[in-house]
Structures are given as structure tokens and as C-alpha cells.
Assembly symmetry: C2
Homo-oligomer: 637 residues x 2
């Protein structure tokens, strides 16, 4: 709908399709004024960005660029082959944050990091600190695992963020040279084992008005799935080189790879009016969401390959649910929403925001979950904030990881979070997420400005004050989440119940008027489909968009393993959700299989449930989202 070349008049947005049902709002159009997401954004700005830069300096990932520039590369090099991408993702996060808050120190940081990166660029545009220099393997000598184009893709995304928030500068120039180099070298063949260049090229193509880049992204997409990458023990599905993307039935293999690739496919489909490609991704999303997605919105069932498992393979204890896969899932869903206008994509985004994105960072913004399991059997050990965690598990947030993709991914997502809050059509503004916020955007007919006042998700009341409105009729549309049966809207003409989906109020609005939406937030039991084998006989509790969990910290004297809940009732007292539970007696035997035996039950007690996104915040703890039900309980068809 809007092709943006140069600075984005909306103040910058991660995705700007030139076609599609919906127009994304920019950093200038939306402000989050309070609540959970404002806190997360502030912590990201004040703590996480500097934290990430400090770690990359400490580990030598930044100095890798200096060594290329100084000609001092050699066989030893700190970091994995994809460490460059962390620098780019940090710069991207700084760009969005700079666009959001205008903090002048950030602009200087971006320039400083850009200068350091830029010195490492070769004359022909190649830019990589792991390959292609003295003592290092040759350029593009390991397409399967080398991550060269993956790194470049993140460079391009950083440049897009810079261009849209501040305009063309050195970062944009060096990204353009890198993109031109990629187009030249990969004109006729070759793909990267880790998709990402595709989405970077597509967005840079949009931001710069360079259709060549979009076309190159299409080439990469269509080359994939024909087994040109070397086979590996995990199989070519790991990097989606098993089946062409237009033919695949579902997301599969390494989850981040699958989702970055799918995000690019939506971009390319939209730019090139390639409806079959768009429909292919819609179908794959539908399949994966119906059968390969956790209650939290998390994706990725296996540690072994950080990948999707088979349909219905959703173990809570070994759930991988990588934070980055949550970021990537949001990238895909947002693009699908913009392309189709369908609100179910925003439903999944809300779930993922509250239960994956908000779960990863510690409240101080200086430690992160990488994997997001739904069951921790034994309390982890306290994280050591001075150490690099070698593993994406353990039950505690870690300051940094050996493979540290998640912190910078969280940072760039939080810095741009408010751009996912709403979308616009020519004559409508659609509220997708609820947070205290101000939104001002120009519709056909004039400026529409609203202020949203809410304590959501703690409270279900959402009050919308109209600050200014076009003279002509427009629609204010509100997303009613699928769980919100019984939601009530007062649009000025009295209260009425509104069904989940989109409710539209279309008329002439006047400054000063107020609309009120009430979303029912009573805690509710949620049952799994009977085919989710790993949680059969269990129930979860949700409250609004929040998945809740039980922590052993709240169970002095009772083992979490011994707790069974009665699905009869939930209590909410002083803002605390409590489930009626009993401790099952019985110590087990030498062999854990045998004839049925009656198991005694201890006294009834009230099991406190807390938001999953804050689990382990109070210290190491065992944790369960899915709670065994006394007596089994009803399955879902």
C-alpha cells in the first residue's frame, strides 16, 4: 500500500509491504504509555542494549571486525560463524529504539558500531569475519553450516531499521554493497543453510525501492527444497531443503530456519503478487498452529535439532520453544495479518508475546531464557551472571549464551513492539493488542487519534478515548481474542455482547467520546486435544492471554510431582489464581509399571498459579503448566 524509500514518514516499521490488506503503523504513530510492555521496552532500552554490547565486546565478537580490517585474522577466532549477526541484530534493536525514544546516545552507538563493522567490508561488498580472510576458510566454502548469507541477512535488516528510522547513512550504504555482492555471486545458484538473507533482501528491496533484491530473495526461495545442500544426519528437512516451499504441507525442521524462510516467502509473495506462494505459507501456518504449537505459542518440540517435531509431538518437559522461534513466529504471523487482514494471526501473536517474548528476559533485562519448556522437573541451579551458558536449558535465565541469538532477538522485538499493536486500512483503524497507548494515524478523510486506557492483562477493561477523528465515517475495529466469550462492548450506544474475532464500530467519531470494551478475564481451564499425547490427563489454566503455571517455590512440604488438581473450580483471591488440588500419596516402587493400584490422596489445598512469563524469577524452582487431573478428566476431540 505504501512504498517507502528513504526515511519512513511513519517513523519506521519492521515490515512495510507495498501491497496487502493492512497498513502497519510506524513508531511515530503509536506510543505505549504504561503497563507491562512499557516496562519491558524501558528495561530493554536502559539495560539490555548495553548488556548485549558489553558481552560482545568481552567475548571478542566485535573485535572480529577489527581483525578483518587490520588484516590480523587467523585460525583462532572467538565465537561461532554466526556471531556477526548478533552485532547486526543489536544495531537493528538500537535503530528501532532510537526511532522509538530518540535517545541521542543511541545514534552515536549506532554510528560507532557501524564504523567498526564497515571497516571490515571488502572492496567488492563481501562482509564476514569468519570466512574469506587470511587464515580463515574461503568465502562460501560451507553453505550448509557457515551462516555467511544468514549474517548478511541480519545486516540488511539492521540497515532497513536505520533507513526507516533515520535515513540513509553509512550502514545503509554498506548493506547495499553487501546486497549487491550477494545478487552478483548468487545470481544463478546457491542457498544458505540458515534462511535469513531472503527476508533481509526482501525488506531492503522494499525500503530502497530495489526490485532486484526482492527478485534475488525469490530466487533463493525457489532454489530451496531441491536437495542442493549436503545431506546431514538430521536430514535436509533441518534446513528446509527437502521439499520446495510451495509444496510443503507444514513448517518443519529447525524452527527458526523454517520461520525466517516463511516470513521471507510472505514478503516475496506480496511484492510479486504471487498468491500461490502466499497460500502455501497460510496452509503451513494453519497446519503448524493446529498440530505443532504449544499452548504458549512456542514452536519447536525437539532439542536435538532445535526443530519442529511431528504432528502432536509436544512434550512439555523437553519443549524447546526457542525464544528466537517465538520472534520468528511473530515475523510470519505479522506478515500474514498484513497480507490477508485475518485477525487469527494477531491471536497467535498475542499468545506468543505474553508467553514467549515476555518470558525470556529477566525483569532486570540482563538474563534470558533461550528455551521455554512448559515443565521443569527439578529446580535449576541459579544462573551465574558472569559466565557464558553453554546450554539452552537448565531452568534459570542466563546472562549470555555460547550460541547467543536470543537476547538480541528479544531486544529488536521489544524495541519495535508497539508497531504490532494496531494496523490500519484506508478507512479503519484496527486494535490488535491492548496496552495503555496513544495511536494517531491518517485515514482517508483525516487524522484518527485515540488513547487506550487499560490495565490489561491484569484487568479486562479497555477504555478508548477518541482524541480526534475524520469528519467522514471510519471504522474502529477491535480484536476480541478467541478465549473472550462474553466480551462486552459499549460503543456509545449501549452495551452489547461481542463475539471473538473482529468487532467493528463504523460511523463518524467525535473527539472526546469514549468506547469501552470488557474482556472477561476469569481464569479458565484449558484442555489439550486428545492427540497431544504428552499432556494427556492434564489441564492447564489460563487467564486472559496469560498461560499460568505452578511453581514448587509455592509448595513448601509438597512435591510438585505429587500434585493433582480437581478440574471443578478455580478461585481468584486478591489477584491470585488458585486451583483446588490434592497431594497424591504413594512413594512409588522399584519398578514403575504394574497393575493398577489405588493411590491415596492427601488433604485438599489451594495451589497458587502464577503467570508463566515470570516463572523462575523468584529463584530456581520446579514448574508445571500442564497439571495432572485427579481422575483423568475429559479429553478434547
Amino acid at each position: 500500500m505504501t512504498t517507502v524509500i528513504g526515511t519512513d514518514p511513519a517513523g519506521g516499521r519492521p515490515v512495510v509491504p507495498s501491497r496487502g490488506d493492512r497498513r502497519p503503523l510506524g513508531l511515530n504513530e503509536v506510543t505505549v504509555t504504561g503497563g507491562l510492555w512499557a516496562r519491558l521496552q524501558e528495561t530493554n532500552a536502559s539495560a539490555t542494549l548495553a548488556h548485549c554490547e558489553r558481552w560482545m565486546e568481552r567475548l571478542g565478537w566485535l573485535a572480529n571486525f577489527d581483525r578483518v580490517a587490520d588484516g590480523t585474522t587467523g585460525p583462532e577466532r572467538p565465537g561461532w560463524s554466526f556471531s556477526d549477526s548478533e552485532v547486526y541484530k543489536l544495531i537493528e534493536a538500537m535503530c528501532w529504539e532510537h526511532g522509538r525514544s530518540g535517545a541521542p546516545g543511541l545514534d552515536e552507538s549506532i554510528r560507532r558500531l557501524t564504523a567498526r563493522v564497515g571497516r571490515a567490508q571488502d572492496a567488492d561488498g563481501y562482509l564476514n569475519t569468519c570466512f574469506g580472510h587470511a587464515g580463515r576458510p574461503p568465502r562460501y566454502s560451507d553453505l550448509e553450516e557457515g551462516h555467511e548469507l544468514y549474517n548478511t541477512g541480519h545486516l540488511l535488516q539492521a540497515a532497513v531499521a536505520r533507513l526507516r528510522t533515520s535515513g540513509a547513512d553509512e550502514l545503509v550504504d554498506l548493506a547495499r554493497r553487501a546486497a549487491d555482492h550477494v545478487c552478483e555471486v548468487f545470481a544463478t545458484d546457491g542457498i544458505c543453510g540458515h534462511p535469513e538473507i531472503e527476508v533481509g533482501l526482501a525488506e531492503l528491496g522494499r525500503a530502497m525501492g530495489e526490485s532486484r533484491y526482492v527478485e534475488q530473495a525469490r530466487r533463493f526461495l525457489d532454489r530451496r527444497g531441491h536437495g542442493t545442500l549436503r545431506d546431514i544426519p538430521l536430514g535436509r528437512a533441518y534446513f528446509q531443503d527437502d521439499v520446495p516451499i510451495r509444496e510443503a504441507a507444514t513448517f518443519r525442521g529447525h524452527a527458526v530456519r523454517a520461520l525466517y524462510l516463511s516470513a521471507a516467502a510472505v514478503d516475496v509473495a506480496v511484492e510479486l503478487a504471487d498468491d500461490p506462494l502466499l497460500h502455501a505459507i497460510e496452509r503451513q501456518w494453519e497446519h503448524a498452529v493446529a498440530r505443532r504449537t504449544y499452548l504458549t505459542g512456542g514452536m519447536g518440540s525437539r532439542h536435538q535439532d532445535e526443530g519442529f517435531g511431528e504432528d502432536w509431538e509436544l512434550p512439555p518437559d523437553r519443549a524447546y520453544c526457542e525464544t528466537c522461534a517465538g520472534v520468528a513466529s511473530i515475523m510470519v504471523s505479522w506478515r500474514l495479518h498484513l497480507a490477508t487482514g485475518d485477525v487469527r494471526y494477531a491471536d497467535l501473536m498475542e499468545r506468543t508475546f505474553y508467553n514467549i517474548i515476555a518470558t525470556s528476559p529477566r525483569s532486570d533485562g540482563r538474563a534470558f531464557f533461550y528455551a521455554n519448556p512448559l515443565h521443569q522437573r527439578t529446580p535449576g541451579t541459579p544462573g551465574d551472571d558472569s559466565a557464558v551458558s553453554p546450554r539452552a536449558e537448565g531452568g534459570s535465565r542466563a546472562a549470555w549464551f555460547d550460541v547467543s541469538c536470543c537476547p538480541t532477538n528479544v531486544a529488536r522485538t521489544l524495541a519495535s513492539w508497539h508497531t504490532y499493536l494496531a494496523s490500519a486500512g484506508e478507512r479503519d483503524l484496527t486494535l490488535l493488542q491492548y496496552a495503555p497507548s496513544r495511536i494517531t494515524t491518517d485515514l482517508t478523510g483525516g487524522r484518527f487519534a485515540i488513547e487506550v486506557d487499560t490495565a490489561y492483562p491484569d484487568d479486562g477493561a479497555v477504555t478508548i478515548h477518541v482524541l480526534s477523528a475524520p469528519r467522514d465515517p471510519v471504522a474502529l475495529r477491535l480484536r476480541v481474542p478467541p478465549w473472550a466469550s462474553g466480551a462486552v462492548l459499549d460503543d456509545g450506544g449501549g452495551q452489547r455482547e461481542v463475539a471473538p474475532g473482529l468487532v467493528a464500530v463504523g460511523r463518524v467519531f467525535t473527539a472526546g467520546e469514549t468506547l469501552r470494551l470488557r474482556l472477561p478475564l476469569a481464569p479458565r481451564f484449558t484442555w489439550p486435544d486428545r492427540r497431544v499425547d504428552a499432556v494427556r490427563g492434564c489441564v492447564a489454566v489460563e487467564r486472559g492471554p496469560l498461560v499460568l503455571c505452578a511453581e514448587s517455590l509455592d509448595l513448601p512440604g509438597i512435591r510438585l510431582d505429587d500434585v493433582a488438581v480437581s478440574p471443578a473450580g478455580l478461585i481468584e483471591r486478591d489477584g491470585q489464581v488458585l486451583a483446588q488440588a490434592r497431594a497424591v500419596a504413594g512413594a512409588g516402587s522399584a519398578w514403575p509399571y504394574g497393575p493398577a493400584s489405588a493411590s491415596g490422596s492427601g488433604d485438599a489445598f489451594e495451589l497458587p498459579l502464577v503467570p508463566y512469563h515470570r516463572w523462575a524469577e523468584r529463584g530456581p524452582t520446579a514448574m508445571r503448566v500442564w497439571l495432572p487431573v485427579s481422575g483423568g478428566g475429559p479429553p478434547r476431540a
Copy 2:
């Protein structure tokens, strides 16, 4: 009890402790005369041994030895660093098979392979085709992953088999030189990332009367657990270098590593009268069997590290249950039985024999399961017998694997299977496993010979004919499996019910008399402990020692995912076990979590159940051991 130096008068046995409660019987003392295990042994002899040699020749794993001998090694080398061990395990299997059947062709094969291996041995005893020669990494330059001592350990086990079945020869000589070399190089420090040298040294020490070797095994054991190996992303628990073996609470980390190490620990504990060490392994076995073992006896819950998971982490679909871990579990349990006389170790061995060892080989002995999951969601693709399988999964037995440890491990276990059938004390013979067989052994007081006539496990009747007996009283003891409540023994003095455990008939026996044991084999429902989260709300069906399963092949028109059984009744008709079942209706929805919904049930039908160890034998199929129960069903305390 018996120290054997040189050829074993009993004809050869895998384990010969010099102390302990029980005496193992040798190849000369036991013959399996028919039934399942005779078939498996015959197929192993007639097909598997040659199959393994052919693959190792084809892939160049045998030629690796020639290249060392010829001085033509270089950077390229086929196979992993542990491929030498496959040759040694094949030789070991050939030795046991030669001892069992006396086939003259085997002796020639052993000599031929030995000569080829021997040419690659360095003057100082070092023998490895991956390290330490031109173009290869230096000796012992990668203790974590290099598998050098692991390879040597398997060489020693092969030599032990040769020595005990045929006497000293070139193979024994070169093993002795290799062992001496290890004792010299590793006198004061160093351990191998993959335990195995320990059990090889302990057994070679016993077989040759060389206490130095046992002492070196003890050193390796005590050095371990202090973090001398490099930390790795999977953690040092992966190779049991996290906690000293005397202090560990349970088996953990990589399952084969943990179990080979534990087998060695029992050997060392027995030889050095180190009761605390023995008790440490007993404790770890108890813990792992109570909380980390599958219904099949399988061990290893994770693909990621081929390892034990946490307590109660026993997913059926992603069960690893590596065939080699089954072999290693038998090594540990057998040693613990011999050391303590406790029959519960034989209980687990039976379970593992019927449901892991017998499961791996295809009926033609030319393809194998590597992992043994208890749930296959979708039918695999048919195995390609001409290809090396890159993966330890997929639902079909594979002719050979990239990491092909399992086929030769199955081969050496099957060739010596009958030596696990019984054990002896000074005045007792104890029958541990039931198969058509003849057993002749010398007790204090004279020769005791029996013939066992049975169709077990198809039929529960076991008839024991006494062929000859000492004049003095001796005991014939029979293991009654833990599931065999209601077993009946007629020991000549009338029928009486006997409880699970050991039943002893102690008196003077006379040639010609007959004892009859009847084990109840009605199929039975088996429930999991309530803490085995992954199979909550499911039940399994067992019949005698056999775990049964449902295969989608038997379900035309019904999806296995849709089947729920009623725990009310099992039917046995014409030798076929059938469970009362219904197909649950309901196609599922776009989001698989929500309020409880009634799910319709289709018509009742009878679900055929087949022995798990034959699953996928008829072709690719979905499969379940744990069957969802309509209504949930009772958990176990």
C-alpha cells in the same frame, strides 16, 4: 569363584568373576535347542556375522587397518574414530559363535581378521587407525571424542572371547601388547571420553591372571568424575566426568557410556573386594530402574545426547532406548547378579532380552533397529538395504548405519545368549531364563544335567527333565518373574503355588524325574507410575515377558491416533491378543487447546496386539505400546 587362565574349561563365558555369589555357565555347559533364541542365534550365525563383515569391507573400515600397515594413511579416512571397535566387536561375536557351534569357517575368519588387524599394531603396542599415523591427528590428542581407548577396550573384549573359547593366539598377543601400552601411557593420568577400556582391562586381567590390568581399570574408574575432560555443551555428565562413580546417585548422561562404565565398576569391585563400589552401582541401578527405564527395559530417553533423561522423563515417541544401551544394561545386570545372587537383575535382563535385543534384528538378520521407541506416530519409509542409514530413527530397520555400533553389539550378545540362561552356586543350579535347552554342570558332589522343554514365551509350561544328578542333595532353583503371580510348580511332590522371586527345590534328584513349572501367561494390563508424565492416561498390555503393541497395519480404516482402549478386558483368541477398543471421533480444530468438549466414540472393535519385538517386521507402520484409555483409568501411586 573360578579364575580362568587360558582356555575356559566351561567353553567360554563373557564374564568370569574370581569371586561372587554365582558362577556363570560356559558355552560347553548350556545349549539352546529350539525356540525364539535358537532361531535368533542361528540367524546371527548364518547371516549377521557375514553381513557385518561385508559392510565393513565395503565402507573401508577394514581397509583402514591395511592403510596403517602399508603406511598409506592420510587426511581422508572412511568411518568415524570408533570404526575400529566394530571390527573388534565382530571378531568377539565370531569367537563366541565359534565357541558355541564350533563352525570351522569361523576360526579361519577370526584368524584372517586378526592378521589384518595385527599388521596395523605399532611396535609399542599402540593400535588405532584414526590417530597416530601419517596425516592423522597425534595419539591421544582428543581424549573427549577420539575413542582411542574405547576401541582398545573392545579389542581386549574380543581377545578375552578368543582366549576363553580357543586359547591364546595372535589376537590375544596383540591385545596383551595393547593393554600393556595403555597401562604404561595412562599410569598416572588420563581417561577416555567413552568408557569401555575399563571393562576390557578388567576382563582381560581376569582371563590372563594379570592383576595389573584390573588395577589399571580401577585407576581409570577413580580418575573419572573430577572434570578432567573438557566441558562440552552437553555437560560433563555426558561422559560421566561430573561426579565420581562412588558418589553418583544414578545412571546419567550418555546411556551406553554410563552402563559400560558401571559394568567395569562391578568387575573391579568384585576383583578388588571393593564393597562400597559394588554398592554404589547397585544403588544407581535401583534408582535408574525405578525412574529412568522404559517398560521394554530400554534405557535412554533423549536423542540429543543418546542419554538418560531426568527421573520420570520417559517419552514413548522420542524414546532413544539404543540397542547398544540394552546390551550394556545386560552387561551390568549380569555382573550384579553374579556378584550378589539377586534375581531381580535377571528380571530386568529378561525384559531387555525380549523387548530390546530381540527387537533390533530383522528376522533375516540383515537389518537392525538402532533406537527402540515405544511409539511411532507415522509409518516410516521402507528401509533401503543398499544404503547406510544416516539416522538412528525412522521406523524401519536399517542394513547399516553411519554410526553402526548396534549390529555387532547384537551379534556378540546373541552368540553368547545361552550363557545368561542359568547360573550356579556350589550346590545349586539356578534357571534364570526359560528356553528349550540342555544344561550340564558340575556341582559339589557331582554332575547335574537337565533338559528344559518349553514353548515359552508362547506357552507358560516349563518341563524340566533331570538327566543326571549328584548323589548328595543339591538345589534346583527357578526364577519366577515378578509378573507371574499364580505360578504353579510341581516338583514331584504335587502342585503348589509359588511366589515371584526364586523358588528352590532342594533335595537329592534322580535321573529321569521331571519337574513342571507353569507360568501364567494371560495378557495383562500394565499401568505406569503416575509420575511417568508422558504416558499418563494410557495403559500397556504385556503377555509374559513380552511387551505388546498395536500397529496401524492392523487397523484398516481407523487411524491409530484415534484409538482408545477400554481397560475392562483383554481377549486371547487363536494366540492373538485383542483389546476392546473404540475409535474416538472428532477431527480436531484450528487450535488444539480449549474448553473440554465431548468426543464421540465410534463402534467398538477388537484391537489386535502383537509382540513389540516384531513391530515393523511386516512393513512401515505406526505403532503404540502405550494405549490411551477411554475415560482415563487409574494411575499408579
